[in-house]
Symmetry: C2
Subunit: 214 residues, 2 copies
């Protein structure tokens, strides 16, 4: 028995998982620049982290380095992509096709990273049936069926704050365990469901605290 069902997170601290994508991105850049080996020191400068932290983070997942040399860029990149599950494609659905939702559908940055928005939903009857990008806007009623049919694991929420909790509840009920939330709310979700909030207002408000003092 390799692991209990409760073993959702292995034993890797969540902060470490949050940093992993940054390593992947930095290594990707180095790889494109044909850099073959990189030390934790060098990576640390690039990412503004301590070398010790990088080594400790990586050591949760294996021994990727060579003493005296550093880490083989290509190998480490591949391993980390594996760890993060980036070697496969992930289907997502968007809920809310207002101004923001449209921008998200037309954003060309997701696909090259392996994230495909394969369905769009809205509650407003006026929007249903409309074509945005290559997607036909579906009514929320179709959510469950589409999620099942298209193996959608990620929900992207771009509805007004007032509707966000409700929409997220529906996504969760359909089995979605990862939500990218663009609505200005901190939604409540059950254990085992991950939410990442994209919230420029909160980001700005936490900076003005420091701006005040000069």
């Amino acid at each position: 028995m390799p692991s209990k069902p409760t073993d959702i997170t292995d034993d890797v601290p969540e902060v470490v998982v949050l940093r992993l994508p940054q390593y992947v991105r930095a290594l990707g850049e180095l790889f494109r620049q044909k850099v073959v080996v990189v030390s934790s020191q060098q990576l640390g400068i690039q990412l503004q982290m301590t070398p010790a932290q990088i080594r400790k983070d990586l050591s949760y997942f294996g021994r990727f380095g060579k003493q005296g040399r550093g880490y083989p860029v290509g190998y480490l990149l591949g391993e980390l992509r594996q760890v993060l599950g980036l070697e496969r494609k992930w289907n997502s659905c968007l809920v809310g096709v207002g101004r923001l939702g449209r921008a998200i559908i037309n954003y060309p940055g997701f696909t090259p990273e392996g994230f495909n928005v394969v369905a769009a939903f809205d509650t407003a009857p006026s929007e249903i049936g409309e074509t945005i990008g290559s997607l036909v806007v579906q009514p929320i009623v179709e959510l469950e069926r589409t999620i099942k049919e298209q193996d959608i694991r990620i929900g992207i929420v771009a509805v007004p704050a007032t509707k966000a909790q409700e929409v997220i509840d529906q996504l969760v009920r359909c089995g979605v365990k990862a939500i990218l939330n663009y609505a200005p709310t901190g939604p409540q979700v059950p254990e085992g469901v991950r939410v990442r909030n994209v919230d420029p207002i909160l980001a700005l408000q936490s900076m003005t605290y420091y701006l005040k003092s000069d």
Copy 2:
């Protein structure tokens, strides 16, 4: 001498400052719902935090509560807005008027929160002089003068990853101490400059780690 110049952060942990805007938002909602008093317990449920954490966080800034009752919503809201510097307006400038930059200019969510985008810049000569929303796109050369003239304290970066560091260096040189970065890079900035990255790709990539396991 009340404080040394190094006293940028008082002594409030940065994580606490990051949570403050969430309290402000939650209290704003309660206020609109005419709720007069709220306990750390109730707030904790709403924000999915422990009551102890909320009380400790708030205690960094004053004694806002009443024993046996809780916190007066309106009063606490006002105090926290004061602490965060949200009682004034903040001018910002946008650099990069591509697809994303345009969406940001036309985003109606900043202004009601006191954040005004009052200038737009781009490096591409073809964009210069164009009008987007109510802004005329300026060449980067104008950055310093405009920042001074319009008392701009916040830079919003929406340029390609390859240009981001360069643009941020320029903003920093012009005295900007707060940067909202939409480019997919973790830029390097000197001490005393704050950056908040808006990066949906990193957000998604840190969730797939958990999705993998089911």
